[in-house]
Amino acid sequence: MALNTTSVEHVRRMVHDRWGSLVDEVNEAAAERDESGSPVPVRFYRAAGELGLTGYTMPRQFGGEGGGPFVWGLIVEHLGYLCEDTAFPLVMSFQPEIAKIVIEYCAEPAVERYAVPLGRGERIGGLAYTEDADAFSMSGTTIVAHDGGLVVRGRKSFSGPARVSDHFITFASDGTGDLAGVLVDAAAPGVEVTPVDTIGYRSIGGGSVTFQEVVVPDVQIVSRTDGLTPLNQLLNAARITIACGPLGRAQALFEHCVERLNQTVRQGAPLAEMPNVQARVGRMYVALESARAVLYQALIRMDEGSVDPVFDPSISVAKYLVTEKVNFVVDCAFRLMGGYSYYGDRRFGQALRDFKGGMLAAGTQDLLEINLGALALAGRPLRRKGAQS
């Protein structure tokens, strides 16, 4: 789809018309969940599947609507705008990405069991990868050969939707220095999820996942060798989902902030008429518009099929820039609104905590800087002599 105002407005109307009622329901107890740390109820994810939201970007042959990355990104961005529970669009939008990895790497029975139901909202999947180690030093979890299949042992320190997941896609050392990847049912014998409290995305259902001699049949193997590649494909895709929702949420908060500034009088004059206030609002506006431009550019490149599936610079730049800008915008809102943002409207405090999550998810901002810098120094990818056509 070509990028123009009509197409963007069309998608926003579609989100409102098809899924607006669901978002209203999700919003009803969003504040309570943020306070208590209780996960988004599974029924909302089920409803998202039934209403065709989760499956929108799934391939048609696997029960989806075959929507492209650009429209999907706009959908998730507008969900972020409408939805006061930031975890809901984040977890929901990650489901098709897990499904696509299963479709690409797994045999048909696994696709039927672990990919198709994600698009329908019948199951929820989580990535269980994080350990207190880098990818080449992981030893806290292993996936090793066992009686014709594999056995998973160890502990993953954090998985976003662990407490609501029906299955995990996990990557761990195979004991020889390689990474293997498997699908594990959350209800399988030996799998234990322990809640982990987080400062942001408190309703995501975060937890650690312990695997005690969990036997995995062949059909659930994602990758016996070079799990690093599907893992990085998943993280590459995750960066877009991490960018879209928060940008929409930051836009909504910006509009709340502007509305408040227009209603507030200080020193006998409306705050909105003060030049310093106008200048800061201008900086917030520039931040949002520039982040959106870069995000849309990455989405268009995804639509064109011109992104690197393993580590794409334009996707990483989008995640990096959006994360920096949404954090900047919410910080500005605190500076402009003072106590109102601190104790008068809890949504700003929630965003302050939630948006910090983007600083570390799918690669810390600093790590992305290193990767992007190294790529930039190496020059743009070019075909060379001997390259396969």
């Binding site: 070079d226 690093l228 993280l235 990767n371 790529l375 190496a378 001997g386």
Partner: protein, 80 residues
Amino acid sequence: MLRFVDYDREVEIRAATLEEALRELAERHPRLKAVLFDNTGKVRRAHRIRLNGEVLTEPAGNLPLADDDCIGFLTAIAGG
């Protein structure tokens, strides 16, 4: 990757093709082998191979090398 070659930033290798060069490199630094190649012997796709500063999008093992050609590596790895 540097830690798997004892932080030896430059290694001089005599090889006629890219594949030969990578195998020789792994022979000299056995700890690098499991990092560079997967268990089937293929170079992991998470590594970008550069030839004389330019990234090879689809590096072919039989790519001929000339004297003074310089092979480099870029690996983009991030957490979850």
